[in-house]
Structure formats: C-alpha cells, structure tokens
Symmetry: D2
Subunit: 259 residues, 4 copies
Amino acid sequence: MANSKYEYVKKFEVEDKLPPCNWVILRIDGCHFHRFSAVHDFEKPNDVNALMLMNSCAVAMLEHFPDIAFDYGVSDEYSFIWKETSQFYQRRASKILSLGVSFFTSMYVIKWRDFFPHKELKEPPYFDARIVCYPRAKIVRDYLSWRQVDCHINNQYNTCFWKLVQSGKSEKEAQELLKGTLAKDKNEMLFTQFGINYDKLPAMFKKGSCVYKDHVEETVKIDEAGNPVKRRRQMVVVDHIDIIGNKFWKDHPNILKED
Amino acid sequence: MANSKYEYVKKFEVEDKLPPCNWVILRIDGCHFHRFSAVHDFEKPNDVNALMLMNSCAVAMLEHFPDIAFDYGVSDEYSFIWKETSQFYQRRASKILSLGVSFFTSMYVIKWRDFFPHKELKEPPYFDARIVCYPRAKIVRDYLSWRQVDCHINNQYNTCFWKLVQSGKSEKEAQELLKGTLAKDKNEMLFTQFGINYDKLPAMFKKGSCVYKDHVEETVKIDEAGNPVKRRRQMVVVDHIDIIGNKFWKDHPNILKED
Amino acid sequence: MANSKYEYVKKFEVEDKLPPCNWVILRIDGCHFHRFSAVHDFEKPNDVNALMLMNSCAVAMLEHFPDIAFDYGVSDEYSFIWKETSQFYQRRASKILSLGVSFFTSMYVIKWRDFFPHKELKEPPYFDARIVCYPRAKIVRDYLSWRQVDCHINNQYNTCFWKLVQSGKSEKEAQELLKGTLAKDKNEMLFTQFGINYDKLPAMFKKGSCVYKDHVEETVKIDEAGNPVKRRRQMVVVDHIDIIGNKFWKDHPNILKED
Amino acid sequence: MANSKYEYVKKFEVEDKLPPCNWVILRIDGCHFHRFSAVHDFEKPNDVNALMLMNSCAVAMLEHFPDIAFDYGVSDEYSFIWKETSQFYQRRASKILSLGVSFFTSMYVIKWRDFFPHKELKEPPYFDARIVCYPRAKIVRDYLSWRQVDCHINNQYNTCFWKLVQSGKSEKEAQELLKGTLAKDKNEMLFTQFGINYDKLPAMFKKGSCVYKDHVEETVKIDEAGNPVKRRRQMVVVDHIDIIGNKFWKDHPNILKED
C-alpha cells in the first residue's frame, strides 16, 4: 500500500535553517509562572530552591547539547547560547527550539522532587521559547548584558516590593510607593526601613546564574610524600558574577570565540 | 538604571506570525525514542501503556489549549490541529511550537507513573516539534490520511518484524525476509507462520488514536419512576477509527468546519 | 582554479518558496510617482495616457507569464494574480517578485514613447513590489474588492480635489473643504459646483482596469454567400467593470477556479 | 463608503525585515540573456558596449541609493553591497529587492541608446534578483572573491570557446576540446593556437567591474602664477582591479567598515 497519494502534504513544510556564522540564542521563559509560583508557595522575591532547580536543568542542557557554549538564567527565564558554528540538525530553528525547550521541561519535572521533596507538583510547569540569531560575539555580549541589567533592575524592585508587602502594605500600596523611584532611592529604602544592605544580598539574586564549562583544578590523589596530586579538568560550573564588564570574558576567551 | 543601551538586541527578534485562514498543524515526535523505548523495556511492536500515556497527554493538550480541534497520534508521534481561526498568541509560530511541545513533555513526565507504576524513568523523554500550515480543510484531511496510512504500513511491518525476531530470527534476518513484500504477503505471513489474523489486532495499533470533543449522552440521575435521565454533554473522546473515508467527517462536521 | 574556497558564501542564501495551494498576488506600485507624474505633467486627477501605458504593460505581463490569471490596476498600481498551482521557478518568492517587477518596468520604459510621443522621459520610472499569498479564491476576490473600493474612494476624492484646485482653490483649501465629507456630499459637490455627473465619468477612472484572457468571437472571413464566418478565440482583454459583485465571476468561472 | 470590510486581506502580508547588523547583498542577473545577447548581436565572448551599459547602470544605482557601499559586476550580473547599518525602508527585503532591480532595469532601457545608438531594442531586457545577508565584512569579502574568481574562470573558458568557434569549430567541438582542461592548458591554447596572451586582455574582461565612491584629486582652476589648483573630491569610480587580495581593501578601508 503506497502512501504517495497523500505525501504531497509534506511539501507544505517550510525550510527554517538559521543563517550560518550567527550565534543562536534560545531563550525559554516560564509560562504563567506568576500563578505557578503562587500555587507552589515560592518564596518572594526569590525562592532559592526554585532558582537552583532552574540552574540544575540548565546544567543538564549544557551537558546534553554539546553545541551550547553558555547559559544565563534569571528568575523563571534561561538563555542558551549556541555556538555560531553549530550544525545541530543543520541549524533548523524548529529542531533547536523544540528539542531545547522539551528537554528542559522534562528535566524540570524530573528534578522537581530533588529540590522540593515535600511539595507535590500541582500543575504542569511549561515554558515558551524563542530563538534569536546574533551575527557577532560582541552583540551576544550586549544581549547578556541586557539580561543581567534586567535581573538587577527587577531584583531591586521586587526586593523592595515584597519587603513592603511583608511589612503590611497591600500590593497596590507597595506599587504606589515604588512608582518613579530611582535605584538609589530603593537602596535607601531597603537600608533605612528594613535594615537591608542590598550589596550584601546573595549574588544569585543580584547577578543571576551563569553556566559554562571551565577548567578547574582538582586533587586526584595524595602522593607518597603526602602532597596532593592535582589535575586540571573541564567541568560545568554555575557562577553568579558580572558578565557586563570585560573581566569575565578576558578570563574565559574561548566561550564566545569567533571562527 | 536604564536598560536602553542594550535593548537594541531585541531588534534581532524575527516576527513569525503564521498566515491567517490556515489550519496549523503542530506535530511532535519522540526524540531518540528507539533507545528510550529499549531502555524502558517497551513491548514490541506496540506497548499499550506507552500508547495510552501518549493518548492521555494528547487529551490534556486538547483540554488545555482551546484552539486545538483534533489530535491524531501513532507510536511516539502526535499531530495537533489548531483551528484556522486561532488567534493564540497572535499565531506566533514559536509560541505555538514551544508551549505545545513543552506542555506535552511536562504531562508525559508527570503522568509516567500512572501508566508505568513499576518503572522508573531512567532518562528524560523529550520531543521535537514542527509546525505546518494548511490552507484548506480538505488538505488537512489528506494530511491525516497520510499519517493514518503510515500508521497502517508501519504497524503491519513492525508486527511481522517483531514476530520474526521473537521466533528466533536476528533483526537483520527479519529485515531481509520482509524486503520487498507487499501488504498481502505480510498478512499471509502473519496468518500462516504465526496464526495471527491482522484484522483482529487492536484498532489502536492499526488505526492510531483520534482525540476530539464529541457529544455523548450520559445518565445524570434516575428519576422517581426509575427511568434514567440523560443529558447530552460535550466531552473529550479517544477513538481508534478510520479517518481516511468520509464517514467520520460526515458524522463530525464541526471539527474541520471552514470559516 | 577551483572556486570551492569561497563557495561557502552560497550557504547564506535563504530558501523562499511560497506555500503550495495558495494564490500568489504580486502588487507593484510606482515609486515616488507623485513627483514622477508632476515632472511629466500628467493630467489630474487621471491621465488617460498614463493609465493606458500601465494597462499596456499589464497586458504584456499576462501574455509573457503564462501563470498569471488576472491583473487589476488603478492609478500607478497593478496587482497580478498568479494561479494557485503555479510552479514558476518552484514558487520562489524572489524570482516571482524580481522578474515580475523588472519585466513590467522594462515594458513601461519601452512603451513610453507609444503613449507619450511628445514627452521625453525625464527621470527613470521604477516600482516597488510585494508578494502576498492567499489560501482561497474567495479571499482573492476580497482582495480585488479591496482594491476596487479603494479605486472608487480615491477617484471620487481626487476628482473633487482637482476640480476645486482647478477652480482656483489652493491645495490646502481643497483639502479642508473635503475633510469629513461623505460619498454623497462629494457627488453633490461635483454636480452642483462643477456640473459633473460622477456616474458618467469614464469607467476606467471609476472601476480601474481588469486584464484577463477571454473568449471573443471574431469574423475570420466572409463566405461566398456573403455571410461572416466567425471563430471563437481566446485573447487578452482590458475591461473596466465591477469585480466586487458576483456577475463577473459567474461569467468567468475559470479565472479563479480552485484545484 | 468604508473599505473596512475587505481590509482584513492586508493581514496576509508578511513582515520581511532583514536582520540588523548584516551586510545586505542584492544580486541581479539578466534573465534569458543568452538569447537576449544573441538577438542583439553582442560580441563574443565580451561585448564592450554591453558591459559598459551594465556599468553605467551600476553607477546610477550607487548614486541613487545612498546606502549602497560597493558594486561588483561581471557579464550580465551585478552585486550591490548595502551597508550593514542601512535603514532603507526599515530593511524590508521586498522593498530593497524590487526597488533595486526595477531602478536598474529602468536605467538599462533608458541608457540602451547611449551605448547602442544603431541597435534597436528588440525585446525587453529584464533581470532576476535575490538578496543575501552576510553577518561580517570578511564574509562579504569572500563573497566578492567568489564572484571575481568566477569571472576569471568563465572569461578564460569563454575566450577559448569563442576563439575555437570563430576559427571554424562547431560549438559542440569547442566544448569537447575544452573538457577537462586546466587554467594553464587554456592559456597555452590561446597563446599557441591564437597568438593571444591572456594576461594582456582588457582588465574589464578578466577582473570584472568595481563601482564605488573614491576621493580623486581634480584641477579646479589655474592660479595667477600658472599653477594648477587642485581639490580632493569624492566621486563614483569604475575600476577593474583585484579585490581578492588585501591591497584594495587596505587602500579603501571605509567601504566595508564595520560599525
């Protein structure tokens, strides 16, 4: 029984190869996570376990897809930078998009119990995703700076907002109090009203999370003289550092090396 | 702290709205499911629990996304037909693609335990997905016919193949024996060598699975005279029937009704 | 001397095939024709020679590209409807777009002298073009209705505007006088102020121009008895008729016949 | 009379903005120019007037569209490099494509008589066109190298081919004689059989034509002492030089300067 009579329907498929020599950024974002985090009682403004679950999935992504060079995450959002030379499924956008977001989602549900052993998953977490191409490494850096600035702005706002709410204000009142305030006003408010030194908050909240492969030195054994024998090994690290300035990129020149 | 300096990177995002008045088919497909089904000891050629897990996720899709009109599934593949009038996220392809495949994946992992209570998930299931637009209902029907013919061809082949393997042939020998055989040869082989009447195999294996909303009559209570009080109600049904001929579509004219 | 070292640059070309089973409309539009028509002293609001030059080029298009089913033109704009089954250059958008607009432009310059024997071409006429796909014949009809309604609205406005200007008003005054007027106000103004019965204006101005192949009867010779011998022959016609109502399409069912 | 009922058809138009920070190459190519050049008796293998007509149109392009940085032409083909920063019609591909090819075509017909005063245009010249985006200046250089290598290969082949034909061989025999020959074989054949030193052929044939803006020094007047007063002025030049090596680009660093 031949299938040829109907096979013409395949002709409606559209070729969607991404242009060569472009860095490909896959960004995923929790869908309806405002509700999802309320349903699951996430701590406000930052739930450490929820962030670590996201980070753990991002590590799995980097390990699973060899063409990912760098991940950056904040809140319920993660960006995955695919090498400009990647030939993963001939750079077909729908493959990168669907396999990436599907794998991440799968990991999120599987790992849920590791980070929330006492919380049942009450509704399915799921994510939207998009793909954007960037023609040069320096624009990828600007992209990452854009996300990290956003992380900072949102975190500062949310920290103030939830402190106000936790101190008895309604959400509406908190919103009103923050309208039009500048960065330094918010730092001031945190310090004087709540005794919080913003700079001392965890780096993960302020800087977001970077996931990448790095060379680390590890002790593999102790020799007969009692000295540690060390070896450099490449491993995936999660870090919460500034990626806007040049230092990180000077220290890790291979991540965004252009062909 | 303004973010404007880096916001230009948003301009690299590409508008990907699907054309109006087109039916949108989202097809998902298990990635590396050959290995995944081996790792999890799926029965060959068809694992009833694995198929029912897929169907259960497909039901959840239809219930969750109101613009899906019909699902059709076979093996580790499912097609979701979005109404031609859908305005879901303004018809942005990446939204439909990512949210659809992510939600399905999430359900698959969550429901795993319902269908495989004694099997641990050993690796993350994940799916690729693609989107294809079809300008007319009759082409959507041809698309579905294409998938259902494929279901039949593959099932017949796989039934023979695994029977041969289970009877002691190597996979290579089984392949050789089946090379060039016609449909009737395979039916003959099943009947004479293995005593199997292909027509008597479960419809789910031969026809795949259709998921759609239908009006069903249900007894809501028994009245004082002891007679059942019935009510017509719309509910999601899973069916294993022919969708190539006209009968199904005459019986369900609303599913592919064109604007 | 091999060229292979540089040939990788071809990989940056993007496939741009238009989806099957869609009608393809190529619309061209004069670029800076406001100035072009001023520079060449076109009569206002309608220059018969300029319109006939456009029509003549549109006839050439229909004769040259066999997959064009119908042209519709108004002012310095023309739409060309390509059959939904067209396989012209495998439906590559850039081919249809570039060859269509380039051929039209070439004809426009070549034929200029036929319609303006006493006017020198003072600057190069050129056109922009776009391509839009329509999934069904009835939407193509709506597209044509959209253009023909536009033709009527613009022509009525422009007729009033230029009559006012020619009667001594400034362009600004004319604009002010017409602001907010309805169709019947404009007809009234034309009749009472300028003695013009709008309905009696040339159909080409009010309805635009349709170009298509039609069967016409022509006398091929006179037989011995002195009677004309007629033969039906297909030829390209230019017509100025209503294409919003059903009559034209009932009379010419083949033009937008769907596969 | 409102047009709103039909205006929904505009929604079928697809946004086609080219990605930012990419160089945009518009390449046009004569359609059926094999026949066109035969019909108009172009000299083989190179017709100087036909090439100069192409060059003259390319100069007009550079002067008309301020965002074009460089043109390169060979035979009936021309590439136009649009600056990576161009915001011409918001980078809409169909605008750049259609306006570019239409303007070029218009100039070609208008200027025909300047280069072929004694030849009537017997059929309309028209061109196809395509657009390709290149993310970096160095890839644009590779693109140009690709075209210039092609120019050389084709010119060498065509020079031999037409010499053989003009010496009495049939086109088929000439083809056979050249099959499998290397560059040096062809040079040898030209020299020994036809007394032609390939290196001495006009640079326009061997290198193609480059069009760009350059600073030239011109004498604006002679002062009282009889000395020429010179001024540097930017003007469009047509040159036939190597653009594969670094020299040209070192001498003209602004042409492909990246933002």
